[in-house]
């Protein structure tokens, strides 16, 4: 009998709890009308940032392309007259991208970064293939200071490629094979 009373009490408190919830404001965030400000480090659309001088940071090292688990990044490297490397073309297929952020982690020059902007839906799948001009932005992204070519990688008045202070000579990829 006592346990039955206990059960009835428990039931009543349960019903009271759900009844009280009727008068609470729903906690739903109604998405298209209300857009939550996402954290700066949330991972969505990929951008190619520029260094503080306004030049492209990407050195076309292929590391992001190599680390990408779904192989959605492809590029072609090229070199300027002063030895500065850049991507002749750079392509990300967002239809395949899983926004894992490994490319950002692999990037040695903070060039490729993930931005919080996630509304990239398209009706046509080929529109999700972004070219370099779609990816390039005019700011530094999360890494404001970093400027790789200030310290290495180009020919300057102080010396050629690999001759600056604490700079290793360029790797000869032909001898680097296993």
């Amino acid at each position: 009998m006592a346990s039955a009373l206990e059960a009835v009490k428990a039931l009543a408190s349960g019903f009271a709890t759900t009844f009280m919830h009727l008068f609470r404001k729903p906690i739903t965030e109604e998405y298209p009308e209300y857009k939550r400000v996402l954290p700066a480090r949330s991972r969505a659309r990929i951008i190619l940032t520029r260094d503080p001088d306004g030049e492209e940071r990407c050195v076309a090292c292929y590391l992001c392309s190599a680390v990408c688990p779904v192989s959605c990044i492809s590029m072609q490297s090229a070199e300027r007259e002063d030895g500065r490397r850049y991507a002749a073309w750079f392509r990300i297929n967002f239809a395949r991208c899983i926004y894992c952020g490994l490319c950002e982690e692999a990037c040695p020059t903070s060039a490729i970064q993930l931005s919080p902007f996630f509304e990239t839906c398209e009706r046509e799948i080929l529109k999700l293939v972004y070219e370099k001009e779609d990816l390039l932005v005019s700011h530094q992204g999360k890494d404001k200071e970093y400027n790789f070519y200030k310290v290495a990688g180009v020919v300057t008045a102080l010396g050629g490629k690999g001759e600056h202070f604490r700079e290793d000579p360029p790797v000869d990829i032909k001898t680097n094979l296993p």
């Binding site: 039931l11 349960g14 019903f15 709890t17 759900t18 009844f19 919830h21 009727l22 609470r24 404001k25 729903p26 906690i27 739903t28 109604e30």
Partner: protein
């Protein structure tokens, strides 16, 4: 001849009105359930299709009508196609004996606000609700899927168990009213509704009725976490829609039965009979949704223990006590 054709016309009008009302109310009961349940869970519920999501039932209906009607390989085609209709038709037919208002007079004729005032109305309701089990058991069996089969078996076992307590809980009501006709039962409650003298029967009836209509916390036949969707796992399109419709018409029938048997049917002050009747059904439906929003699903053994070890003995005791009181 003229009176005959006039009676036929009135009957057809009543049938059409009730059917239309039932189907429309079933659609908006779904909306109400989703909306009310959402508020119980601190959500908004459907609010995109039209103002307050009021067009949602229409959108759902269009979706169900236009979806592909698939029949799984190895299914027993005839039974598979028939089962949803059994569920819906039995649920709809139950409304034939439920009175939704007092008598009207029209052109000097007395028009009862019930489609068929059977003198065995209550037995008719029980017979149809037992037949409704076939839709579930056969639908589960004919689908050729283990989840459907398990759902169908559970449905059959559960509904047969709770049919007993459902029937037994109403014996005192019949004893008090002295009739199986639902119209007479409502008339017998003119002084006071039976919920005041039969609170135990009311509780037993509501619990059994919820088990009978397979609603949470008694939704074991369609327990989605264990069985996919139970007996209607393999159904799609309008056949699934028919199961769904049957379920919500059943909910209305149960609300109507609770209103008729315990809450005094159409009687009430100020408002007209059908209005009171609708309000009572609505209140019962809201309470059922509230229960759905509160209680978790019972385990299978708990379900059976509740039915056989608690509700049936209580109902029997209630019959004996009521009988004794009437005798004295």
């Amino acid at each position: 001849m003229l009176t005959w054709s006039l009676g036929f016309l009135i009957l057809m009008v009543k049938l059409g009105a009730v059917l239309l009302f039932l189907l429309l109310a079933a659609a908006y009961l779904v909306w109400l359930e989703r909306k009310f349940l959402a508020r119980l869970q601190v959500r908004y519920g459907p609010n995109r299709a039209g103002k307050y999501g009021l067009l949602q039932p229409i959108a759902d209906m269009i979706k169900m009508l236009t979806k592909e009607d698939t029949i799984p390989e190895g299914a027993d085609r005839v039974i598979f196609l028939l089962a949803p209709a059994v569920v819906t038709v039995t649920a709809l037919l139950m409304f034939a004996v439920i009175p939704f208002g007092g008598d009207l007079s029209f052109l000097g004729k007395r028009i009862p606000m019930v489609i068929a005032d059977l003198n065995i109305g209550l037995l008719f309701v029980f017979a149809l609700s037992s037949l409704g089990v076939y839709g579930i058991a056969l639908g589960g069996w004919a689908s050729n899927s283990k989840y459907s089969l398990l759902g169908g078996i559970r449905g059959a076992a559960q509904m047969i168990s709770y049919e007993l307590s459902l029937g037994l809980s109403l014996v005192p009501v019949v004893m008090l009213a002295g009739s199986f006709s639902l119209v007479d039962i409502v008339r017998a409650q003119e002084a006071y509704p039976f919920i005041l003298v039969q609170p135990l029967a009311f509780v037993i009836f509501v619990i059994s009725a919820m088990a009978e209509s397979k609603r949470i916390p008694f939704d074991l036949p369609e327990a989605e976490n264990e069985l996919g969707a139970g007996y209607h796992t393999e159904y799609s399109g309008i056949r699934f829609g028919l199961f769904f419709l049957g379920e919500y018409v059943n909910m209305q029938v149960l609300g109507a039965l609770v209103a008729v048997l315990f809450l005094g049917g159409w009687s009430g002050p100020f408002l007209s009979g059908p209005a009171w009747f609708c309000i009572k059904i609505l209140v019962v439906a809201l309470v059922m949704i509230w229960i759905r929003g509160t209680l978790p699903r019972l385990r299978y053994d708990q379900l059976m223990a509740l039915g056989w070890k608690v509700l049936i003995p209580l109902a029997l005791v209630n019959i004996v006590v009521t009988g004794a009181v009437i005798l004295i």
